[in-house]
Symmetry: D2
Subunit: 382 residues, 4 copies
């Protein structure tokens, strides 16, 4: 079995690997309030180890650069001032090579600490930091995709396009009514929002074995789904009209053919492939148009052991709320999840961009209903 040190090193190296095709120019700009620059991601996950572990557990630890705490803190209000979120893209300095030096510096200190017989608290925080970095690995990909998509040159970052996936199963899975156990049993790592294992009663339901394909969504478009208010949540209707949304993010219709921007450039859409980059509003409208609905996160969790999942995050019709007995941790770590439990919808599963081994069937991802830039898809229920 992998030691924690090895695991730490592997995850840290994977971040660097994901950045291998980035040009220096790609690291700094910020393309939206909801996205962050690559430089910021790779510095921020490093800052987490320095701030939460090294400063507390290494005697006389000297930080790499005292300014970095201010620059690369994300949202931890309890740890002093931080740069305003919309200004993350203006940090042309430190240079990216200094950020990589910062990574190497922290990596060395962390390995030293992990190898020197640390305590359980260090282990737990290190595992949290590893999971935190894995989350940012996926964000790094979705964020840089969003930035590159604004470039009329359709830059190509990878050979493989990260998008084309096909369903292997079809049909409906039936689940009986009953009391089910929900949430993480604490037998291994989880985020705090999964804890509070508890019982939920489910009415009987059916859930689709496959995700919605691009071809099915084109039917919705061709049936003027984007112009019929009866399918849309009221705020979704305003959202598509205020923002002139008439198709999934990254789609373009040219000369009668649908294309989509991918991390390997602009490509024609394979109608049999699984639909992605869809907002909750679009998922909800599509389901209503079909005469069906989205599953709840509890239905999903119960059914998931019999489903194929992991290529796309799946919107559920559950709001992101605390489980019974949810407790916010003390201090900065406590800001991890609880304070975002409003106005967001839960996504379950994982995507092809999720770090291997990072997710699990109790994992709760969450985004605001208008966001499309994640690798999100639709699974229907009835």
């Amino acid at each position: 079995m992998k030691t924690l040190t090895t695991h730490f090193i592997d995850v840290r190296e994977r971040t660097v690997l994901l950045c291998q095709n980035l040009q220096i120019e790609d690291y700094t700009p910020q393309s939206a309030l909801f996205s962050s620059p690559p430089k910021w991601h790779i510095a921020h996950v490093t800052w987490f180890f320095e701030e939460m572990i090294l400063k507390k557990h290494v005697p006389n630890y000297e930080v790499f650069d005292s300014n970095f705490g201010f620059l690369f803190n994300s949202y931890y209000n309890s740890i002093g001032e931080r740069i305003e979120r919309h200004n993350r893209g203006l940090l042309t300095r430190p240079k990216i090579e200094n950020v990589y030096e910062f990574r190497a510096f922290v990596d060395k200190a962390m390995v030293d600490l992990l190898e020197s017989n640390p305590n359980e608290d260090v282990d737990k925080l290190t595992i949290l930091g590893i999971n935190h970095e894995q989350q940012h690995q996926e964000l790094l990909l979705t964020d840089i995709k969003y930035t590159l998509s604004k470039n009329p040159l359709y830059p190509k970052l990878f050979e493989s396009n990260f998008v084309t996936h096909h369903n292997k199963q079809q049909g409906w899975l039936t689940v009986d009514e009953g009391i089910y156990q929900i949430g993480h049993q604490n037998e291994s790592f989880s985020f705090d929002n999964e804890l509070g294992a508890h019982r939920v009663f489910l009415e009987p339901f059916q859930i689709s074995k496959n995700l919605v394909t691009c071809g099915e969504f084109i039917e919705f478009i061709n049936d003027n789904g984007y112009t019929k208010p009866e399918y849309w949540l009221d705020e979704g209707w305003f959202w598509i009209n205020d923002n002139n949304i008439t198709q999934p993010l990254y789609w373009k219709h040219q000369d009668g053919t649908w294309f989509q921007y991918t991390l390997s450039g602009l490509e024609p859409i394979d109608e049999k492939s699984i639909l992605t980059h869809i907002s909750f509003y679009e998922a909800s409208a599509f389901a209503l148009w079909k005469g069906l609905r989205l599953p709840t996160e509890f239905e999903w969790e119960v059914a998931s052991k019999d489903l194929e999942w992991g290529t796309h995050w799946e919107w559920t019709n559950s709001a992101y709320l605390p489980y019974p007995r949810f407790k916010t941790a003390e201090g900065a770590v406590g800001e991890y999840n609880g304070k975002f439990m409003i106005n967001q919808m839960v996504l379950r599963g994982a995507s092809h961009a999720t770090a291997p081994g990072h997710s699990r069937h109790t994992y709760r991802n969450f985004f605001h209903p208008q966001y499309q830039w994640q690798f999100s898809g639709i699974r229907l229920a009835k």
Copy 2:
């Protein structure tokens, strides 16, 4: 037992009674996007009867004024164009006396229809229209209060202030774990969002027998609750800072004393009275400061039979989402509830401004988490 006709007349007359102290000048202006002018409310509830019932069920019915359909439609996208919501306050014409003529005209036609042996569909729609009007009666009060509150003269509309209420019970109610029945059994009228009676498993919990008082909330203020991020949902923290929120709506601190604007003018706050005009964000922060939490709507529904309730709407920590088997009705009536099931939190109970007999223990009210202008309060759980 009251006939439907009598019930119809009673509710219609109550609307007029609520407006008895309004000056002509009060009827037209709109003070916020979320509030509507009295003239609009009393015309809109009348339009509902004409549009949904009379036009369909009275042969050769001639509308009072063909423009009113356009002017007083609210959000029914399926019934053609409507005036933009933010322009409702610019309708200086029709004059208020014409709107009252419109009411009388529709009342007469409705009574004629109800007395002439109508069908079940008319009965059902009439009952829906009555409940719809009762909802607008409460909004009429909260909306005109918001408008008058912007006036430095602190206008007085009623002798009684609508605000001062006291808890009669104290302490905690304990509820055992178990499967509970939730939702309306369809034995009498309910809104569609209560239907889909279903079972919910509840972990054991305790719920307070009393609502939070003004005095308790002053302690929160005095402990600098509004300036400590650790108590606030992240979006709540931005909301209070962007809008300089430092106290409940309508509160003013003058010479060391807390006052609040009420419908009977500016009055000193009775610290033992029940707190109201509180947003979900404030309710949530207060609960966290107390080391407690808000109940879910399911906990509330189960416990409510043993609780005193009805003076203030009670924020729950449940998002407004569909029950299992929820179905949107066909046509315009189907726009009533379902399309608002996003980004809103459920309130349960009723307030002193709710029409008598209108609410019930399965009733689901809902507002966005930042809204304070309803008669909302806080009940804690653990």
Copy 3:
């Protein structure tokens, strides 16, 4: 010759006359940040007499209502707090009948003062107050027109439409180069922005004897003038695109015919009538499309003695800036004009809605370049 008292009474009565067809409902709402409700106008001009004259020159004067100073101050920063401009439409109280009582109260006190042998300072301030009220008379009309125009019922306020005017002269007037005297000689009343009579050298120019007609502007529209960037100032181009401006304010195209909303309802456009409700941006684009230009305010002032003018305010290509030796008066009266001398363009002449005798050939009116709601028109030069 009229005494000052008579003149005062005449102007005060004219305000009331202009309001004769207003319904109580019309007095309160505010339709835009740039417009004010009738109630506010008629109270504010009255407040001016009380604040600037009666409180200073009548021993032991007691104000009608101490709240009115706060409610009806407009922009005089030096006289304490005032209600925020965008909330003027929420003052449902005081009722309009109380505002008329306020007018009567102040009228009586003013007449008493004027008849009791006052000093020169009172005379000067009274004349200023009269001119101030005349300015608000015109704004009252343009503001209520803007409010009523938002009403799909096209309310009718007067029998005469205030819009249809025809040119009596045609052709070009030639003016020689030379040094000309500009500004008011102080022989009678003027606003401070006209003072500082000074010399200006003008290059030779020609100015049109007539204003642009609706028919000429329809040619511009038909030539796709609103979609060709080459005619537009850059900020004008953004303005028409951001606001979907494709025609003058109040114009509507129905079944191939152009109509315009007027104070006597929606009426077909007489192509030979003079164009009005035009922004500076539109005036500028039209002139460039014609291969011509707008005159400067100095050219206009010099030429005006030989021109027919007075039915429409005429946009000039002069920015509103101080004349040489311009001095701001001491105290609140000094806030009258000087502080608005930025980002506005000068209009010269008068309109059919200007109080008789109010304007003169040195008069400088001014508005931001995007505003259309005044009775503004176009005169060309070359």
Copy 4:
């Protein structure tokens, strides 16, 4: 005398020299709607030569990259689509080294063209392109300064700080009344906005021989100048309050000392040095506080031959408007100046960041009154 080719090469090399200390990371991000990234500046000025000259005058010219026309067009509406202004900072590709290759490619083609006996049209457009590039050289400096100023690290780009300058003259210059010649006589290059030489009559005036110093402005601050509405234009008053402006851009007050961010880092302010980074609103308020005024651009032009100028752009109280007989050129070049003649104020002179030889006493610079990020200063008149 320098040949045009030599002059072209010198100016092109100066741009590269100005960028010598930029890191690759600095080239891409955009810090405000009004500022552009260095990469964009250096590509855009190059595009100008390709688009306006090479494509028209070199037979069979093949563009360096057909996408660059779209990416680096600035505001020329007549030349097809362009990337939205606020997205300039998202162009991580092309890489900066490709942009330098683009420069080299165009430089070579231009030198070939210039050396091959071109026509007068090429010469004129080349001179225009050179002047255009010089303008962008100054913007490049002010824009990168604005971006770097957002970085809490206070990055240092140059050894010299670009800020500290002192007045060499003191006292007042008196100018007699009279008719003066204004504008460019067309004897050498000028922009079209300087043309239309014409006569202006000036009343007698006095103008200061020195610019306002930092120390004088600190007196204004200490006298609470930023909190007294009587000194401010109304829109300036809203601007400082809405944006919490309490000092010039880049100033910081720390431990009782004033510092300012400069291109050589954060430095203490020399009170005797000339004030800069001041908006027109601040300049206007300061002048009123002093009981003085800003000169008009005509007064400045007449007086300038007897004044020391060139270290800071000087705000005048003249709006940016066309001179008599101003004509917009045909085609894209015609979009250079005329369409910006609204809502901007004229600055005269030059700054220490202006390319040597670029400005002259008829030169008209212009910015909106709220902008502070140019090297702007204050000269008073009376």
